[in-house]
Amino acid sequence: MALQASQPTERQEVPEEGASSPPRWRVQVDRHRAFLSSLVFFVVMLLAFMITSPAVFLSTGIYLSVFASSLPLVLIVAVPLVFVFVSGEIDVSFPSVVGIAAYAFAASYAQGLDPFAATLFAIVVGAFVGFINGCIVTYVGLPSLVVTLGMLFLLRGLVQVLSDGEATSLIGLHDTLFEQIFMAKWAWLPAPMAWATLLAVLGLALFSAHKFGAHVRAIGDNSAAANQMGIKVRRTRVLAFVYVGAAGGVAGVLAVTINSTFYPTTGDGLLLLVLAAVFVGGTPVWGGTGTVAGAIVGAATVGFIETGIISAGLTGNYTQLFYGLVILLSLVGHRISNKSALTR
């Protein structure tokens, strides 16, 4: 007996009599742990900003200006990127996908194409890049980090060559239906933010309610098992890349319309912001698990950092420092919170 008692027993081995299942709220908290911790982080950060610069953060103006900044672009790309992460891959080519799509839109519009058709064209270009990324990763069997890093440089180079390094003005879009839909305000909400919200809702639905999301999770978790159960592993992986590519296309069009100008560097600044949004949101890098809702909160967190820092009286030089700090802190935080969930 003494010997037995000294041996460690497996946790689930001996269900104690009368042990009841955990309360429902507990189950829900556990299931949405990553999202909830990123939400707590966001709220605490916002409170800190409100305390350090109440004049700025207690007025509505700041929120509208964040909505009109890079937040919609970050949101649009971060949500699909969660799918790629959860499928067990990574995609860092999106800044250049945004760039090439922006160029496709601007150039085809400058050639006289209808702006709506040009938008569609840009999205198709983005989706096609995603398709190529996905095919190289799944069918050629190269690591996605390397493939998409290569694509990041290749496409930026292509944009530079095609545009000759020149910016293009899109002043002709003023006072058109297109401007109403993509550039102006919907009531008080800037149109890009409205589109980003719609796409985020679509992403949420796909991730948590559609079989595409379920398959992506299964593949990132155990691709051999997914394959054995009849899930089309390669096709689903490619689709996740296509999704990011198409989203990059939308972001490219919006990036151009927000400034009414195409720059050859369009999209460059997104790399850190989008990756930070996904990580801060609580999607880990090992696949099989992640949260779109978290990425949405993560995008908001990232969107407010820059504004918060500047309005707290620091210079723009501090932003990179803070992004890096926030990414590392949130990764450590999620890791700890995840561990406590597993060992409880």
């Binding site: 497996e10 689930q12 081995e13 269900p15 042990a19 009841s20 299942s21 955990p22 189950v27 299931r31 639905a205 309610a209 559609h210 079989k211 595409f212 379920a214 398959h215 999770r217 299964a218 978790d221 155990n222 051999a224 098992a225 997914a226 054995q228 159960m229 009849g230 899930i231 099989g288 698990t289």
Partner: protein
């Protein structure tokens, strides 16, 4: 009674080496058939033939009395033969429900998953198979489950898809005594509901305890076939050892 599945004179060779040689074996509706054999006896090959992964080089496969041709995994499934391989094909970070419906989600016509229906069905299956741990729910991630319970989830999946025959490849290997017992309980429960089970093992106690009939495979041939009731576990072990020495078909 027409056997649910019958192998007639089935051979399978890899190069010149015979993995199976003239195997005759049948599984009746609603019985547990234990398939025993030493390493290299051809158990795994036989499982793969039944599952449709391997096509027999010679011989025929009959399902419910009808000969099947071009046997493959999809056809096996169509014929309601579900195989649980050793890796169990589970996605550990996903909840039990998602694993039961892995790749075959209940969806509406737009592909949206009917979570409530899936959860209810998973709950019903878990109750039906009497998952003993009370801290488990259909929402529990599979990584929180014991080895025995994981096998149970894989069996529940087969049950849900109306399997008439569930093939379990080494389901008790690497399990503690208690977990192995859980698996044997799951097998009995499934059998009591009228499902046949082909139980592959090299643990003679497990194989004997759960079986209605026992087949011993030896170097690719059927070395012995007997009703479980006609022999004790000890007799079975003696038989196994003499089979391994080659006495049985000398």
């Amino acid at each position: 009674m027409t056997p649910l599945l019958e192998l007639r004179n089935v051979s399978k060779h890899f190069g010149h080496a015979y993995a199976l040689e003239g195997v005759n074996m049948s599984i009746r509706p609603g019985e547990v058939l234990s398939l025993l054999g030493d390493n290299g006896a051809g158990k795994s090959t036989l499982v793969k033939v039944v599952a449709g992964v391997h096509q027999p080089d010679e011989g025929e496969v009959y399902v419910r009395g009808e000969r099947v041709s071009h046997w493959n995994p999809a056809k096996a499934r169509e014929q309601r033969i579900e195989t649980v391989f050793q890796d169990k094909a589970l996605a550990a970070q996903q909840p039990v429900t998602s694993n039961v419906f892995l790749g075959r989600e209940i969806t509406n016509r737009f592909g949206f998953v009917k979570h409530r229906a899936q959860r209810q069905e998973a709950d019903r299956l878990m109750r039906g198979m009497r998952f003993t741990s009370k801290v488990l729910s259909p929402d529990s991630p599979v990584q929180h489950l014991s080895g025995g319970e994981r096998e149970g989830v894989a069996i529940a999946r087969a049950v849900h898809f109306n399997a008439d025959l569930i093939v379990l490849d080494e389901p008790t290997t690497a399990l503690s005594l208690r977990q192995a017992q859980e698996v044997l309980d799951f097998v009995r429960r499934v059998r009591d509901d009228g499902t046949s089970v082909l139980f592959i093992s090299h643990n003679m106690f497990h194989a004997h305890e759960v079986a209605d009939r026992i087949v011993i495979l030896d170097r690719g041939r059927v070395g012995m076939e007997a009703d479980q009731a006609t022999m004790s576990a000890t007799e079975l072990i003696e038989l196994m050892q003499s089979t391994a020495r080659g006495d049985a078909h000398a």
